[in-house]
Amino acid sequence: MSGFSGYIASRMIGDSRVPQHIQNMVIREYCRQRGLTFKLSATEYAVPHCYLMLEKLVDELPAHDGIVAYSMFMLPRRAERRRALYDRILSAGCALYAACEDLALTCEEDARRWEDILAVQHALHPEQS
């Protein structure tokens, strides 16, 4: 275990574009406030619906303590795909954080909370999927 990897986007997050250095600043500050050791960030490929970098970070667990994503809205659109990611992260004894939303996913109940937010957001804004 050696700290948390950042996860930033190179494509739109919902209807917003956030420069990568700003995403990194937010993640670094979030880690500082939470007392989390921050390692480098991985940048997701710009190809729509591609999650190769996220899959790589999850595959590497538990080599690091977990992942700090810039936003929860960077996660895959399909609920079953997110579910599989949560299961792999939690079964590795690791955690997922969303810096922008200040939300932690460290247990099954957290996963339900995240899914309620994401499901409503996708229902209200299917065009952002």
């Binding site: 922008c100 939300l103 309620d116 937010i117 409503v120 229902a123 209200l124």
Partner: protein, 276 residues
């Protein structure tokens, strides 16, 4: 009281719902006794105990008196750090938001709906007597990123009245001023205040009651010229499926009462795969 409910819908409202809805639309606010006094007292007691802990003094037997006189223990230059410390400690409590909603739950369900998104952190205001560092100039929250579908549940932790309370513009004055808002180009929020000042009402909201208002109308506070300190909390609610503005789902709002039919709808996938 005006009847704002269309005749075609009136029969769908119970009398007490119609009365509340009309009162809210008449004044864009209501002030009512707390629906769950136990929940309110728990919040107040925890607030006072938290503040006492931060100040390293004994937990008070009389929370209202302790809070009212906090200016004897906290100076203006320490006020914001103190407020933030209390705010963080309060919001760390898992029970806080359910208790907060319980204070006005039936009214909110009547005015907003029973499927709610709630602000993730309950705000705390402390206004010491004669302190000009904690003022909220006249504003409507919709001007700064809130959705017009939101309401604010404002709960005093002490008796709030006159300048110790907040003011709100009457709906007709508010509408008239917002309709000619471009006339204020090049001026300041203080000019807007001077325009509405003769008409505003400082709301009398004693401890044990709550204020529910639409933040689409202008409101704010002035220097507290009363002898005691104001403590109030506020939190926004909206119907979970109504439009969001810049205060987004996830970072600002969170669903708290999703209903079964909505859960089924969110989970449903239409069968597919047929070829023409």
């Amino acid at each position: 009281m005006n009847d704002h409910i269309p005749q075609s819908q009136r029969a769908f409202f119970a009398d007490d719902e119609a009365e509340l809805a009309n009162a809210f639309l008449d004044g864009v606010h209501i002030i009512r006794p707390a629906e769950d006094r136990t929940a309110l007292d728990r919040i107040q007691a925890h607030l006072a105990a938290t503040a006492a802990g931060i100040l390293d003094v004994a937990v008070p037997d009389e929370p209202t008196e302790f809070l009212d006189t906090i200016h004897d223990r906290v100076t203006v230059d320490r006020l914001n750090d103190f407020r933030l410390a209390v705010f963080r400690a309060l919001n760390d409590q898992d029970w806080l938001r359910p208790a907060y909603l319980a204070v006005a739950r039936k009214a909110i369900e009547t005015i907003v709906g029973n499927e709610l998104a709630m602000q993730r952190r309950v705000n705390l205001s402390i206004q010491l007597p004669d302190d000009d560092s904690s003022l909220l100039p006249v504003h409507a929250d919709v001007w700064s990123g809130d959705s017009p579908y939101e309401v604010v549940l404002w709960i005093p932790m002490v008796d709030c009245f006159a300048t110790k309370s907040m003011f709100i513009a009457p709906p007709d004055i508010d509408r008239a001023v917002q309709d000619r808002f471009t006339e204020f180009e090049g001026k300041t929020a203080e000019d807007v205040w001077r325009e509405i000042e003769p008409h505003v009402r400082f709301l009398e909201v004693p401890y044990g009651s709550y204020l529910l208002f639409s933040q689409n109308v202008m409101h704010g506070n002035r220097i507290n010229r009363e002898a005691t300190t104001r403590w109030s909390m506020n939190c926004r609610f909206k119907s979970v499926m109504s439009p969001y503005a810049d205060k987004r789902l996830g970072e600002f709002f969170e669903p708290v009462t999703l209903r079964p039919a909505t859960r089924l709808g969110l989970d449903y996938r239409l069968p597919g795969g047929f070829e023409e």
